[in-house]
Amino acid sequence: MTQAKPRAKKLPLKERYALLTRDLDWEPSYVEREKLFPYTSYEGIKIHDWDGWQDPFRLTVDAYYKYQAEKDKRLYAVLDGFAQSQGHLGLADASYLNAIKLFIQGVTPLEYAAHRHFAYLARYLEGPAPRFAALCQSIDELRHCQTQIHTISNYNKYYGGFHSWSKMHDRVWYLSVPKSLFDDAMSAGPFEFLISISFSFEYLLTNLLFVPFMSGASFNGDMPTMSFGFSAQSDESRHMTLGLEAIKFLLEQDEGNVPIIQAWIDKWFWRAYRMSALVAAMMDYMLPKPVMSWKEAFELYFEDQMLGGLFPDLEYYGIRPPRHVEDAIAEKDHLSHQVYKILHNFSFAAAFTTQTPGVEHSAWLSEQYPGTFDELYKPVWDKHARTEAAGGRIFFQGLPQLCQVCQIPMVFTEPDDPTSTSFRTSSFRSETFHTCSDGCKWIFDREPEKFVQAWLPVHQIYQGNCGGPSVPEVLDWYGIQEGDNGEYKGSPDQRSWAEWHSGAPKQGS
């Protein structure tokens, strides 16, 4: 809050901020600058004036502590209240928690990875202003990781699938999708990391991924997740600003940076978009009370805000919309259905359960996807439903072919033919590599030396590196416990939920 009594001399916010942050820096004279900042030249980016970096937020350390402590006070009050009142019983349905399982296994570790690698930027970027912004983001990301662990800790006590999220992120097949994306970004140089995570992930896609998801949490009675989500998003606004400032700064510094940045936008849009497919499946299939379809979120948050708003702004610098964006648009009617099919096929080997959409859910999907659901996807769900009505459950009795880049099973179809699976191959050092799309193939062909290293879970199982050759051995190595996996109906979570809500007489019984 501002001072009640205005002082005679008060530095304006901008000037004061500069004195408290970037003025702390000095030009070293006892060691070579290249030795102090060894990583800022090999990517080919040229920076002529680090002082050209703008700091829109102007957050000093004391203000940071004050606001963040206040945010956390509010958040943990919600968590404590929810736990004390056994708030989990008020969820829309226990099946909702499958989305949260995927979240803690897939997203929470990414927050942690971001925490660690923004520390790398906070050390190695040459300008003091971006270094400080990166430092703030680094510690924020630790906050996000830890608030998520604490939020979900309460669910972990009563439901399966949450208990081994960290180990699972290192080992389980579907989690290599997000893990490999961050490993890709972290193993690149500092500028590519900045464009991949700060710009392509935080600015371009974070709204699409998190905001509708948090609204979904709210709608399904998950107040803790909504609270940490929105609370984290308020930090994300700062991170988005860092991403936007980073790209503008790099583009303004040197003409030669433009094609490099464009190629990174092309790569990282597709990489992040592919990973977001897991969120698409979550939004359309895992929320008992869906709040917004993937397609609608994609149109609102990506097509309207990014393609309609941001990219015309970047055109000024010579930047065009990401390569392959047309394919993403063409996929918006298909993505969630195809990806949930993977999860449904393979949930016997996952730390969550799946179920065939019921009548009401199908009706909602038909309404949201009038051009595609009834024709292409509903018939398959109907076939599953028929098998299940006869007491069966169809799983994929084997292991899937994975894309060498995004590591998602090769489910995606041709942009112009949704009945034909899209297969792309590349040859490198006389070895064949398979990719799921033009986007992933383009990424592979650009840096084959990198992507041949991919730790592809299916191939690792076949090499004998995942606990043993049989499914039970692999599941054990994954840390999956009895009942975490498979079909939701009849699962321990579902049975507990039914028992807890059976309305058994409590008084005088």
């Binding site: 080919g44 292409l376 018939p379 699976t421 191959t425 070895e431 030396e449």
Partner: protein, 106 residues
């Protein structure tokens, strides 16, 4: 284009053929069947006869579709090329190498 790195960035492929000894990976895709989300990946001996591969490897997988009819399997393709496999020819003889993609319809 090469990866930009501070040193000579060369690493062996994680799934190179030599890691699988006398075996290799083969992918099999059932064209036009949306029940299976993707092609399947199998580790099989290079010397395995094609007939045994179909009966012992492909059929048990495809059989999880209740409508699967082993007798109806036809239209084999290796990548995009038609393939007329003799049951006793080995995968290697048929030119089905490491990480080859086979298609069939049924």
């Amino acid at each position: 284009m090469a990866v930009k790195a501070l040193y000579d960035y060369e690493f062996p492929s994680a799934d190179r053929a030599e890691n699988f000894g006398d075996d290799q990976l083969v992918y099999v895709h059932w064209d036009g069947n949306p029940l299976f989300c993707s092609a399947a990946c199998f580790r099989v001996p290079k010397a395995m006869p094609f007939g045994e591969f179909v009966a012992g490897v492909v059929a048990p997988w495809a059989g999880s579709d209740p409508d699967f009819d082993a007798a109806a399997v036809a239209g084999w393709r290796l990548f995009d090329e038609p393939l007329q496999p003799a049951d006793d020819a080995s995968l290697a003889d048929l030119g089905i190498g490491h990480k080859a993609l086979l298609h069939f319809s049924a």
